[in-house]
Symmetry: C2
Subunit: 389 residues, 2 copies
């Protein structure tokens, strides 16, 4: 019997801050504390740090630094993109239809719901197949019927499926629609080159790539205008009001730079750990089924269902064994809803109650994976026995 | 001649993080890094820290912890309050008029402009007197004519005038309007007791009271509903989506707790420094006039005009002498606009070009003040000589 250990396999929910990133952030809390909008030396030092950070991020995204807007995280970036474009379309006679798919993060999904329900925009949702891949033909038809903005997630947070963003963006553009992608889960693992991806807007969040929580970015291609969703001061060229969060912006940029300087080593490691995990679970744990795409999935991401087992119960038992996992997105124990994402993939309600997401990280070891597979065998076996009684 | 020194007199623009606050934040970057929405031990530790922080803040505000929503700062809090209430009023047949005054922070002023110009809400602006105090009778008349929400700044950022919030809130309530205040500049110096203030919503930003940048809060009185402006996950009881920024939230709460535990000592010190400064400048610097209210002003806040002198030029010369000051709000050098705030107080354009704000802090010393008065005498004298030529 393996010794009990603590295994964090929820890197899609959040990652620790890289110690190298901490080191560069620290002086901006207590020493270089000026407001970056101030004209004096304290302000100028902060402003310089922010513009350096913007350059660093632009290098990874292959864009101009002026095309990057700093935000408080992925949810704000998504909201800014969708609300900002939608209202700008309305102001300038653009098409009022917003196109998404069922596997969007809720910051996109719920925002489009509100834009539709409360603010009278139109909404269309493209179907996906069993693996979570967008139906390109349906997407093209919806765009051809007229659309202002399409937003398709780069890689889904719950089942890890990667979408063909560049192809979808081109389809949208052919029919005159703008294209946004939520790249929050893909960052640090997939290319963020906005020229290759051909996107008009792209959302990022630092705490998914070993940067701090509470800071993110929205890429906005030159020439695309938005009605500001956080209005006030003229920060970020009038696109996002609010005193710059100098330490976290500096930290995010350095975290992104590091993640992409080291991307090959990290993703190779993730993939090895993930494949060991998937193989071990599918071959050794009762009733395990892989969800999401078998190949087109995030290197760090494994997801399963165990039909008839309540995901929350499974998570609790794994937690007792020291394993931090997730039911899908970072959900709360006690929420007895089946997963919308799994339902959209065509799983039935009972299957959609039993989702398990395990996401590896830089520190994950072979021993962690072995321990997790054995723990899962044990827990799933016991839960099926309970169900039987 | 006094030795040259570095004097930071721009505490209204931003304050350094209290070292005691840094200490409590640090573990949440690298050790307790779980997503507070996750159900495992990593998530629960983060969630516990956030709920403890909420309790701490509620104690200072004299409210329930459930009435506090964490945001990314003052600008977001203002936007959330105004947009959220306005759209909720529209959805439920409330009065569509939003009432502000000319000395609002731009996060309120520009947001109401957008709600009016782009989203078709009504707007009314209450006049102020020469000191920046709201005309209560005019405010009452506007509310009596019908209004959904009034938003009046607690203490102005540019001239430091404190408004009689409790009186104004009661007037608004008598006529069925909700009342929001931007308390960003007042926090750490004025009471934030929301029961005494009688406000329905109140915005705060941590970096004004020796907490970190990039985090703030919105107090929302029980029973008041908002259409979410940052939608997505069900964080903050569905009122504000986005992964919790655990370290900064923990830091903000502790900074607020410290600021109010020590408020008497701090404000007494601010007031001594400020009065020494105001006395020295008015009696010793050519043409100096105090702006804002002579008594009802923030303890830390001194503001002046020097008619005919360009504020930006003055700031540059002070910066060369090591003094960090501001023209009003944290503005950019090179912006040649007269101050809207000073114009609203009835100053002419030439006067409104010459605003100077000096805001003292915990570390400010008598020597700093003496040095600043002498530097100002010298710089103002020289600039008047230049103007004459």
């Amino acid at each position: 019997m393996t010794q009990k250990r603590v295994v964090y396999l929820d890197h899609s929910a959040s990652t620790p801050v890289d110690p190298r990133v901490m080191d560069v952030m620290l002086p901006y809390f207590t020493d270089v504390y000026g407001n970056a909008s101030s004209s004096h030396r304290f302000g100028r030092k902060a402003e310089q740090a922010i513009e350096d950070a913007r350059e660093k991020m632009a290098a990874v995204l292959n864009c101009k630094s002026s095309e990057i807007v700093f935000t408080s995280g992925g949810s704000e970036s998504d909201n800014m993109a969708l609300r900002g474009v939608a209202w700008h379309l309305r102001e300038h006679g653009g098409h009022p239809k917003l196109v998404t798919m069922p596997l969007e993060h809720s910051a996109v999904g719920k925002t489009v719901d509100q834009l539709h329900d409360v603010m009278a925009f139109e909404q269309a949702i493209v179907p996906v197949d069993r693996f979570g891949s967008v139906d390109s033909a349906a997407f093209e038809q919806i765009c051809a019927d007229g659309a202002g903005l399409a937003s398709i997630i780069y890689a889904n947070n719950e089942v890890g499926t990667i979408e063909p963003i560049a192809d979808l963006a081109r389809i949208a553009h052919q029919h005159g629609a703008l294209f946004h992608t939520d790249a929050v889960q893909g960052a640090g693992q997939l290319s963020l080159d906005v020229q290759t991806l051909a996107v008009d807007l792209m959302s990022l969040s630092a705490h998914k790539f070993y940067g701090p929580k509470g800071v993110g970015a929205l890429y906005i291609r030159d020439g695309i205008e938005l009605v500001p969703t956080q209005s006030g001061g003229s920060h970020e060229n009038g696109r996002r009001a609010g005193t710059h969060n100098t330490p976290l912006i500096v930290g995010m940029a350095y975290a992104l730079e590091l993640a992409y300087a080291e991307i090959e080593a990290h993703t190779a490691h993730y993939q090895t750990m993930r494949d060991q995990l998937i193989h071990g679970v599918l071959s050794g744990v009762k009733n395990a089924q892989l969800t999401g795409h078998p190949e087109q999935r995030l290197p760090s991401h494994a997801s399963f269902i165990f039909e008839g087992i309540d995901s929350n119960l499974l998570l609790m038992h794994l937690d007792v064994k020291g394993i931090a996992a997730s039911g899908g997105s970072a959900c709360k124990t006690g929420n007895p809803e089946p997963s919308n994402v799994l339902m959209a993939l065509g799983y039935n309600e009972q299957e959609a109650m039993g989702g398990l997401r395990l996401t590896v990280g830089r520190q994950t070891t072979t021993d962690d994976i072995e321990y997790t597979i054995h723990a899962l065998q044990d827990v799933v076996e016991r839960l099926y026995n309970l169900v039987r009684v």
